[in-house]
Symmetry: C2
DNA sequence: TTTAATATTAGAACGATTCTAAGTCAAGAA
DNA sequence: TTCTTGACTTAGAATCGTTCTAATATTAAA
């Protein structure tokens, strides 16, 4: 979904579109690297020197609740965020801590609403390992 | 794998089998509820009143590195652990915070070693939603 | 405008995890 | 046995990511 569509979606739902909210969503739109909250916060601070962490956290929570961004709990103890909300697999490299998108065909959960009587609201298929770059660097595995 | 097999495995690899390590592994063997570190710590404290959090954390890390237990990063900001290491899907209920095992047939990642040039070392397929119990309780969704 | 509701801010508080330094234990050597 | 060495455990401090708080600023409605 385009940035404009997501902004319109917020507007439709009666959500005040502040500079800060616009900035967070725009940042995620332009940075598809699955940044952590810290990364988002310090990047935005360069442009908006007074933006606070609380606002970044609040905004990420808000955007997530509107279904416009995705929360990633792949790395122990810290959150990453993704502009893309369409379910897809993520790969986490335990050497360089980078989060990659990976395309997995034929996931049997796609489109499923229920499993074992539980209501599915979100899919977070995570794969952990060593990424191609770190394999090339011959970092000890 | 049975508890005895896992303990033997530790022995074979030359790992000192302390009371504390035995207790942590045994606790996970007997409690297949995917407990948090806090839960494990306070449960063990009842039997071993002087056990420290550091030991619990160290032991869990050690057992994980020997491939005898599995770390679960499904809940924001806290770790769960699982005695079962064979890859399987986990379901997290955002109402009651319980982690369930779920059986998903036909996962295309089973047995795969590589994806997009990345080396797969662990699979963590997570599903988030509302569990059957909470759905019955008619908790607002 | 005035008012009320909502959003932002800085920094404090919190909670999970990691670190540190001292103490304990176990195994091998004398 | 006693000594020594290295590994393990301990309690509590430190750290780090996240959430909360109270004051201020902004927005939307009357």
């Amino acid at each position: 979904m385009s940035l404009k569509e997501k902004l319109d979606r917020l507007n439709e739902k009666g959500c005040t579109l502040t500079i800060q909210r616009h900035a967070v969503l725009e940042y995620l739109h332009e940075n598809r690297t699955h940044p952590t909250v810290e990364k988002i916060y310090y990047s935005l601070k360069e442009k908006f020197s007074t933006i606070s962490k609380a606002t970044v956290y609040n905004t990420l929570e808000l955007l997530k609740n509107y279904g416009l961004i995705q929360e990633i709990t792949i790395e122990k103890g810290k959150l990453h965020f993704d502009y893309e909300v369409k379910p897809h697999h993520h790969f986490f490299c335990r050497r360089c801590n980078h989060v990659y998108d990976v395309d997995v065909e034929g996931c049997p959960l796609t489109g499923k609403r229920m499993i074992d009587g539980h209501k599915i609201e979100e899919l977070r298929p995570y794969i952990i390992g060593t990424c191609s770059k770190c394999l090339q660097k011959k970092i000890i595995v």
